[in-house]
Symmetry: C2
Subunit: 390 residues, 2 copies
């Protein structure tokens, strides 16, 4: 057993979700991650709430397995500590506000000249150039700009996806691009600069809807638990007070659903429902039929019958249902990670190769590793600044 990124050092000037999730996954693969935090304050998510025995729900989720160094990068002595650390770093991740890296003397292109081995990931809301260049970007704002909220919710009532997909998507593109750059560096001997804009990430995830609008011209309308593109599909209340989720993705499945599950050969034969486009146009009628069928049965019976008919189905779960999901428990997906207040629950990373060791995580107290990291930096040579004095 070994961890793929053993020996890799990541420095991260990070806040909130996108950069922290990226570097947490690098830590999950065995990289050493040094989280640089503002003295006395730290990552803003530390202060969101105190739900996890005094620690914040977001912070605990995103930061186990990292070291925390309190460094004030606007202070010249601390900036020098950071410059020394960069000499042996493989990766620098940042999601500071637009222009902030440059103001700290850490412009990504300059860094790469000074530290040619370095992989610099520069996360922003909207990228360089364009009318939104310097705008603040939070998950909800980028999801609004990116059209993601317009295809979520109910007709005329858009909603923000509960999962912060702009932040998390950005984290995952940042994470994968670091891995691609490490692989590339083994061949070229050079690091690189990787700019990532949250809007570009949302636009990528909207690819199907963009194609529909660009070519077909039709704006997809949100339909709650359903899909604007297929019908019937949705969530239906059951006799025992639960909610079943089921539907069809093709004409063939519709015939199975109507014939084998609902036992309604009349529907199978009904030309008004034969094709998906017909069913989308008559979504309300089909929702009523499925709704009445589910309302007369308990969830367990619905799911058994749907399985037998080869119709995909699920239970609409709350967050607590997920926390207690037997599919996570029986597959041993939960573990404990360390923290300043003792062990707390965390999930294993979602994608692990067989034979990859998962490091024991630890949620760092603010500045827990500052002294050790300062001492370590003092032993490192500052980089050659010849090009600066030229």
């Amino acid at each position: 057993m070994s961890a793929p990124l053993e020996g890799i050092t990541v420095l991260s000037i990070e806040q909130a979700i996108s950069a922290p999730l990226c570097t947490r996954h690098l830590a999950d693969l065995g990289a050493r991650v040094i989280k640089v935090e503002n003295p006395g304050i730290g990552d803003s998510t530390r202060h969101y709430d105190g739900v996890v025995r005094g620690m914040a729900a977001h912070f605990v989720w995103l930061n186990h397995g990292k070291e925390s160094a309190e460094l004030n990068l606007t202070d010249s002595a601390d900036a020098e500590v950071f410059a020394r650390l960069l000499t042996k770093a493989d990766v620098l991740v940042s999601n500071l506000a637009p222009g902030a890296l440059g103001r700290l003397g850490l412009d990504p292109a300059d860094l790469l000249e000074r530290y040619p081995q370095l992989i610099v990931v520069d996360i922003s809301g909207y990228g360089r150039g364009g009318p939104l260049d310097h705008k603040r970007a939070y998950d909800l704002l980028v999801q609004a700009e990116g059209g993601s909220a317009s295809i979520t919710g109910l007709p005329g009532q858009p909603a923000k996806p509960g999962i912060p997909v702009a932040d998390i998507g950005t984290a995952l593109y940042a994470y994968s691009s670091v891995l691609a750059a490490l692989y590339d560096r083994d061949r070229t001997g050079r690091g690189t600069v990787i700019p990532i804009a949250m809007l570009d990430v949302v636009a990528e995830m909207m690819g199907f809807a963009l194609n529909a609008v660009l070519h077909g011209g039709e704006e997809p309308e949100p339909v709650g638990m359903g899909s604007p593109m297929i019908a019937p599909y949705g969530a239906y209340a059951t006799k025992d007070g639960q909610t079943a989720v089921l539907g069809t993705t093709s004409d063939r499945e519709w015939r199975r659903l109507a014939g084998d599950l609902l036992r309604r050969p009349d529907l199978v034969e009904d030309a008004r429902y034969a094709r998906n486009a017909d069913r989308v146009a008559r979504r309300a009628e089909l929702d009523e039929i499925l709704g009445a069928w589910c309302a007369a049965r308990d969830l367990a019976d619905i799911q058994r019958l749907a399985d037998e008919a080869g119709i995909g189905n699920a239970r609409l779960n709350s967050v607590r249902d997920l926390a207690e999901h037997p599919q996570l428990a029986q597959r041993h997906r939960w573990r404990q990670v360390g923290s300043p207040v003792g062990p707390v629950a965390a999930l294993l990373p979602p994608a692990l190769g067989r034979g990859w060791e998962v490091p024991e995580g630890r949620v760092p107290a603010l500045g827990a590793d500052t002294a050790a990291i300062r001492a370590e930096a003092a032993e490192l040579e500052l980089p050659d600044r010849a090009d600066d004095s030229a």
Copy 2:
């Protein structure tokens, strides 16, 4: 300029979104991707619609830059073609239904014994073991099981996030795990098997909500465009018939919003709104105040004033607004890719290192490359099957 994955060959037995988006991004990095499709039918998304000049919106989004080989893996001659291709493949990705790889004689662990260089990504809905082991899994179903829909929508009216986050998240974990495994293989000389379950991916993305429920006990309720955790935050109709999105993420920002933006020193001083928890409890009152303020102003004025006050803000965009977004156009994010019906628009990949060449993509017709790939396979030696005859 070069592409990081030049020289890497990926075989993919893929359908729908998760595996296809994973391999499209591998192609974006220069890998050769051979998409294996059922003769005459192919990837089911080919038939979703014909919106892109006869091609489907989903298919075009997810498949440019790949080759298509029609192979019937239940036919022994075609299975042998596939076995020959595996001898020089670096990666095999599959999102077949549970157990299907095994029934094709392609059990991941066996494959790794036969092809020790191979990285096998085995995507499933719910993983091996547990009560949902063999259940069908579509994006909506896994989002329902995973609690993601329960924190999206309106109180009592859960909704599916429009972006298929279970599929896309799984694609991105598959993609990054391939890159980690390639990097690892350079050191160990060995491939690996990477099982990825969509439910585990959704659970990871629900980390903040899981922590809140596990420790605090409170179930987050969806509040449309707002956040259950902070207030005020939301979407408000403007005088000129548009929708502004804005709000606060901290007590300090609230004082700026109330004082500098709304010009309401009385609200800044009002103890009933001083802390976020207070404001969450009085969300409706604050939404009314912000709603009235926005209703009296045009969007451009609202955004200018919010920028001046240092308050994050956005426009609630439709998909068409995103397609025509100046932030994408002015930053040259659109390009053309080839297809059987001529060039079609596509976005550049969201994360590219400087100096990485983006291959020209092409959307393959079903089986466009079958003949060439069969000829190529005929030149390859079958692997040593000694262990099979033992």
